[in-house]
């Protein structure tokens, strides 16, 4: 109680700090910069903050904080544009939004989806801030109560959402999730450093695949390719059915869902080590489970947008707790934030346990600046959403080349290797086939995202548990089965049981017709082939590095069993059964005027061109050729649009101080930026 007595004055001080015109001015400046930067999927926060760092040195702390928080806060808001309008998950925070947001855009309800998402974001941010104001005072012991078994169970709860999203054939969903986990284990193991499906001769693989690349490859590329083949606008019939007021009404009608998902967001955001990777999936699962009529999920259900969007901004607030109280950054941008705070003023503010004792007013100022930035950012976004939603009425052939440009650049930024772009194409191919044969892409992505936490927490919890068991059986049991763990187990079991019942009505890929056996079986055989190779590879890891092989062996084995059962079923069932779902048989893809491979060849052309002459030169060729040949536009229009694209790319990269992928040409001759590299 004593703490609360000091908290109220501190809260008052915080508001006195915030409510100065100049502070609000800096906040708005930060928000506007953040929105501009947030265009790039998967880059926003980190790139923007790095840009601000040099100016933080010696800056008045509250002004610096306003600027930085303004920038960070709007990233989970502004990346909603990409996920709803283009089906591009901008960050791990907006993956679940794609599932229903993008289908809404396709139905011509982009503005409605956007405004529902923004209203939810805004509300989530405010709920998060209110919750934190009280919670931050008592958070420390609660955060410390989440040990490895508890974190493992939350990860498992996240994984259990696969049950909801598995699709019509649960085995396929499980296999897809297993495959996702296996892809996530590629590279050097965290624990023992063994290589899995990688070699030191290809250094790129040793670091594993980046989430940005997998997210873009699994969700964005298949959608872009599919739309491009159909040669239409994103919104069918190029009309925008409902306006932005409708979305706000949708949100209001579902305000309690929004409240619950916001709380889920804060609470999970508070736990260090999990980051945002599970939050939106758990929120999405919750939205599904609490909706009576589930048939619309995956086809454009507004609750599927409200749930995850309410949670992801609230999560940013929750993420402040480990950052401020323990000095442990929950994300890349938070890490830079910590570093930048130390540069502010005379450097007196040190992120860590002292924040509550000596800087409670600053702590509160940070919490409420974040909430306020959300408000400002959301209002700007809602205001813009009607106009930006018009993008969905443009003929997609004019958008596609620029989307390829954006996602290639975004992929390259994740590791600054040419291989990043290659990996994007490879994962994109997997995504295309998962989509075509109705294997759950969300399940694959959940598997991938949770691969590392599952492995890490399992190994570490096992090691510490066995250490405790040596002290005594009861000591070990007490460690493994704490009350929190038991509660989480119950929630997981309930959610799986409900999930399996509901899964059949949730079709993330919409209706898919079935066709002949050949194509689905070939794809299944390829998956089996990869799993077998990965299992053999994992088995070759020597036994003293048990920690590095246990999970790949167990999960890989499990996925293989699922696939083999599927294979048996496929041999027995007649053609036309749902198991042989194939988008090329009937429907949009099958009727598309353009073929898959000729469409992909354009993207391949950009990559090959980049390999030889570097990104910008290849991009010039790609844009001109694409707009002229594929889109069939006049020379003047082609050149104008290409020039705009290149100028935009150079401007953004220049402002953010980013490089472009170099090619063989750049190795041979030094070229000035932007043609050459660093």
């Amino acid at each position: 109680m004593e703490m609360f007595a000091t908290a109220l004055p501190a809260l008052g001080d915080a508001w006195a700090l915030i409510l100065q015109p100049i502070v609000l001015g800096y906040l708005i400046l930060g928000v506007v910069m953040g929105l501009a930067v947030g265009v790039f999927p998967g880059l926003g926060g980190i790139a923007g903050l790095s840009l601000l760092l040099p100016f933080m040195f010696g800056m008045d702390p509250i002004l610096g904080l306003a600027l930085m928080i303004g920038m960070v806060a709007v990233v989970p808001t502004s990346d909603t544009f990409a996920s709803v309008l283009m089906g591009i998950p901008g960050s791990s925070a907006s993956q679940a939004t794609v599932l229903d947001g993008f289908p809404m855009a396709k139905k011509g309800e982009a503005a409605r989806a956007l405004s529902a998402a923004f209203a939810s974001s805004l509300f989530g941010g405010l709920v998060g801030a209110m919750f934190l104001t009280v919670f931050i005072l008592i958070a420390r012991p609660i955060v410390l109560a989440f040990g490895l078994p508890e974190m493992l169970m939350i990860t498992v709860l996240g994984l259990s959402m696969v049950a909801v999203l598995a699709g019509r054939i649960p085995l396929k969903g499980l296999a897809a999730a297993g495959l996702g986990i296996m892809v996530g284990t590629i590279g050097e193991a965290d624990a023992g450093g063994s290589l899995r499906m990688a070699t030191y001769d290809i250094p790129y693989l040793t670091d594993g695949l980046q989430l940005v690349i997998v997210g873009l490859g699994i969700f964005a590329i298949p959608e872009i390719v599919s739309l491009l083949r159909q040669d239409r606008s994103i919104a069918k019939g190029a009309s925008l059915g409902s306006g932005w007021m409708e979305g706000v009404k949708d949100w209001f009608a579902n305000r309690w869902l929004s409240v619950r998902c916001s709380i889920i967001g804060v609470v999970i955001g508070v736990i260090p080590g999990l980051g945002g990777s599970v939050v939106d999936w758990i929120a999405y699962g919750h939205a599904v489970q609490t909706t009576k009529d589930k048939t619309n999920f995956g086809k454009g259900e507004v609750r599927g947008v409200i749930g995850p969007e309410s949670s992801n901004n609230a999560k940013e607030g929750g993420g402040l707790v480990p950052t401020l109280l323990f000095g442990i950054p929950g994300s890349g941008s938070m890490a830079i934030f910590i570093g930048a705070v130390a540069l502010l003023g005379s450097g007196d503010i040190e992120v860590g346990p002292n924040m509550l004792k000596s800087n409670l007013d600053i702590t509160y100022a940070i919490v409420w600046l974040l909430a306020l930035a959300n408000v400002v950012g959301t209002i700007l976004c809602i205001a813009a959403s009607g106009g930006i939603a018009k993008l969905t009425t443009i003929r997609f052939t004019y958008l596609a080349p620029f989307l390829f440009m954006l996602i290639s650049f975004a992929a390259f930024q994740s590791g600054q290797n040419f291989e990043d772009v290659l990996a994007l194409a490879a994962i994109g191919l997997i995504g295309i086939f998962l989509r075509r044969f109705d294997w759950s892409r969300p399940a694959f992505l959940i598997g991938f995202v949770l691969s590392n936490p599952v492995e890490k927490f399992t190994n570490q919890a096992f090691q510490i548990a066995s250490f405790r068991f040596r002290k005594g059986f009861d000591v070990g049991m007490e460690y493994l089965f704490s009350p929190i763990v038991i509660i989480l187990i119950v929630i997981t079991v309930v959610s799986v049981v409900f999930g399996i019942r509901q899964a059949k009505s949730i079709m993330a890929e919409g209706e898919v017709k079935s066709g002949s056996k050949r194509a689905p079986v070939v794809f299944l055989l390829v998956v089996i082939g990869y799993l077998v190779a990965a299992l053999i590879n994992a088995n070759m890891i020597p036994d003293y590095n048990m920690t590095d092989k246990v999970i790949p062996l167990a999960i890989g084995g499990f996925a293989l069993v699922c696939c083999l059962i599927l294979l048996v079923q496929m041999m027995r069932l007649p053609e036309g059964d749902t198991i042989f779902a194939d988008k090329e048989v009937a429907g949009e893809d099958a009727d598309a005027p353009y073929g898959l491979w000729s469409t992909l060849a354009w993207f391949a052309g950009l990559i090959i061109g980049t390999y030889f002459v570097g990104f910008i030169l290849a991009l010039v060729g790609f844009l001109v050729a694409f707009l002229r040949v594929r889109a069939g536009s006049s020379w003047s229009k082609t050149l104008l649009l290409s020039a705009c694209g290149i100028a935009f790319m150079c401007f953004m990269a220049g402002a953010l101080n980013r490089d472009f992928p170099p090619g063989l040409l750049q190795d041979a001759v030094d070229l000035p930026w932007p043609l050459g590299g660093m």
Binding site: P54, D207, F467, Y544
Partner: protein, 362 residues
């Protein structure tokens, strides 16, 4: 550490820096240029903090006040960036590269991924840090300045990997005869401290800034007991108490007091060699191979000017710790210290890694 001692040290540093041959007034001018300071780590690590701290200061002191931008090139435990830097040639002096202990250790242990050679590069600045090991309260009560009463206890330690800087604490505990079981796979020392706070880990170590930022509070609250520092090097290369933590004994002292632990012989030599490579000279800034002397001199002068700033001791102690920053001639010595490990020490450590953890670098 008291202020007076600190200012005295700083003053000595300034005098020492001024006493060194002041480089001839360089005619290098960086007006309107951008200096890329490449760090082979992600934005989240200590090296990022270090480079971001120095970057604006450096910008102020370089002729023409160029913008200094820190760029990140993480990958393969920093060897990717270092291999990249090895291929860079001098162009116009606008490329600077920073390394850390995690870049030094793979080089010393002959990691197969290492395709870089420190001797080719031109060091312009180096700085160090220290480390403190501590125990939980229960086991800490049994610590009497020696590890004698800790030998029957099993400890758990959250580790980033035996071939990283964690090699230094793990080897030290092993020499003391303490049974420490590392839980591998954590992402940073902050995670290790959290594991300790949760009671899952029972022994921990932090670099100086990490200790001051979080663990010192645990000690004050009575939930942690400091065990030892790695110490600091004096002018003769001997280990003395860490100036930041003069009240905490060094590993050397604890080892001397502990039965069966020796401060001579191959184990000790190996530990000391890797400690020296990892802590007193932890981070270095380099210009690429083939950089002309006048550019090197310009950078050297700029870093000297940074260190000579009146407020440098104060601002640096808060952000990068209260340790020496080496410039001019001292930096070459520092580089040699950090990257020259006797063959026997290397062989000892490689063998120990293999026997204790099954780690083989090939």
């Amino acid at each position: 550490m008291t202020i007076s001692r600190f200012t005295r040290r700083a003053a000595l540093g300034v005098i020492a820096a001024a006493g060194l041959a002041a480089p001839a007034a360089a005619e290098v001018d960086f007006s309107g240029k951008t200096i890329d300071w490449v760090i082979p780590f992600s934005e989240t690590g200590g090296s990022a903090k270090w480079a971001n701290f120095f970057a604006p200061l450096l910008s102020e002191e370089l002729p023409g006040n160029p913008t200094v931008v820190v760029k990140f090139m993480p990958g393969a435990g920093s060897t990717k960036g270092a291999n990249w830097f090895q291929d860079q040639e001098h162009k116009d002096g606008t490329l600077l590269f920073g390394t850390s202990g995690s870049t030094q250790f793979p080089y010393l242990l002959k990691d197969p991924r290492v395709r870089y050679e420190y001797k080719d590069w031109n060091p312009v600045m180096a700085s160090g840090t220290g480390g403190v090991a501590y125990l939980n309260a229960e086991d800490g009560a049994k610590f009497d300045g020696s590890a004698n009463m800790l030998k029957d206890t099993d400890f758990i330690y959250g580790s980033q990997g035996a071939t990283r800087l964690d090699l230094v604490p793990l080897l030290a505990w092993q020499m003391l005869g303490i049974n420490v079981e590392p839980v591998f796979g954590i992402k940073g020392r902050g995670d290790g401290r959290l594991m300790f706070e949760r009671g899952e880990a029972t022994i921990d170590y932090q670099t100086s800034s990490g200790y001051l930022g979080g663990s010192a509070d645990l000690v004050a609250a009575g939930t942690a007991v400091p065990m030892m520092t790695w110490g600091s090097l004096d002018a003769n290369g001997d280990i003395v108490r860490d100036p930041t933590f003069p009240e905490i004994a060094t590993f050397k002292e604890v080892c001397e007091a502990t039965d069966g632990c020796e401060t001579s012989g191959e184990a000790w030599d190996a530990w000391k060699a890797f400690f020296v490579a990892g802590f007193p000279v932890q981070k270095l800034a380099f210009l690429p191979a083939g950089t002309p002397q006048d550019v090197i001199d310009t950078y050297t002068a700029a870093f000297e000017a940074v260190v000579a700033r009146a407020d440098f001791p104060e601002i640096s102690s808060k952000r990068v710790g209260k340790y020496s920053v080496y410039t001019s001639d001292a930096v070459q010595t520092a580089l040699t210290t950090a990257t020259d490990v006797p063959d026997e020490a290397e062989a000892y450590v490689l063998n120990w890694l293999k026997e204790a953890y099954g780690v083989e670098l090939k």
